[in-house]
């Protein structure tokens, strides 16, 4: 009997149903609801969701068989839409993920000898398009960096050098102002 755990963003770990057989049919769906803020967009564009396959052995602790990662940037940069009469919907992405065996399981065997325990078939999607929001967050970050750069001596954000100090002098009035012209 095996099960798969799913770790995504700041959500608690989710698990599929316990499934029997050498070709287990998990057929489990998870929906992770999150606020689309800059952290979320950053996470999707740069991070991975991780899946772990565990073997449940009766009363004992489950044994981790292996793990695999889902590259989430595919959701952002590989965003496709499907024809829908009501609205633009994001297309479902199907992947076969290579299960890397756990080091404790392979024991003395080298990783090269046991490269894969097989694969997990998954389907994923974001319910709403993300690319526009990604571009918006990128633009905001660019503006912030440029603004910060203008305030540093080196002209780069995060520069160690001391920030430039800007002094504004406003001339209010002049009295008995005389300017010498030419060389009399």
């Amino acid at each position: 009997m095996t099960l798969v755990t799913v770790d995504f963003y700041d959500h608690a770990t989710k698990t599929t149903e316990l499934t029997q057989g050498y070709k287990p049919q998990y057929k489990s769906q998870f929906s992770f609801r999150s606020e689309m803020n800059s952290f979320y967009v950053e996470y999707l564009s740069k991070s991975k969701a991780s899946l772990e396959v565990h073997l449940a052995n009766g009363s004992g602790k489950p044994i981790k068989l292996g793990a695999c990662d889902i590259l989430l940037s595919e959701l952002v940069f590989g965003e496709r839409f499907i024809a829908d009469s009501l609205a633009s919907k994001t297309a479902v992405i199907e992947q076969h993920l290579n299960i890397i065996p756990d080091s404790a399981l392979t024991g003395s065997l080298s990783q090269a000898a046991v490269k894969s325990l097989g694969s997990i078939k998954i389907k994923m999607r974001l319910r709403k398009p993300i690319q526009e929001i990604y571009r918006f967050h990128n633009n905001v970050t660019d503006i912030k960096n440029t603004t910060r750069a203008a305030g540093t001596a080196a002209g780069k954000p995060g520069s160690d050098t001391q920030a430039k100090k800007l002094v504004t002098i406003q001339v209010v009035a002049c009295k008995d102002l005389s300017v010498a012209y030419g060389s009399s």
């Binding site: 998990y26 489990s28 299960i99 319910r127 709403k128």
Partner: protein
């Protein structure tokens, strides 16, 4: 009455669900749910995903990452 073919049924279900969702206020919080438990779910036409009837598309600033672990 003759039963509609699956595809048509799915599309009609989705249209009904969407019309209902727009009028329904969104709930708060972010959770991951298993398909076999919880609130009633509808098939999402054009994909294999089931959508929780209470979720819809969430608030304006929310998104759902739907994941199906199918087989190994």
């Amino acid at each position: 009455m003759a039963k509609r073919v699956d595809g048509q049924e799915k599309v009609i279900k989705t249209i009904k669900q969407r019309l209902g969702v727009e009028a329904r206020p969104a709930t708060t919080g972010s959770t991951g749910v298993s398909p076999s438990r919880g609130a009633p779910r509808d098939d999402d036409a054009m994909s294999d995903f089931e959508v929780d009837a209470n979720d819809g598309e969430g608030r304006l600033n929310e998104n759902f990452f739907d994941l199906r672990v199918i087989e190994a």
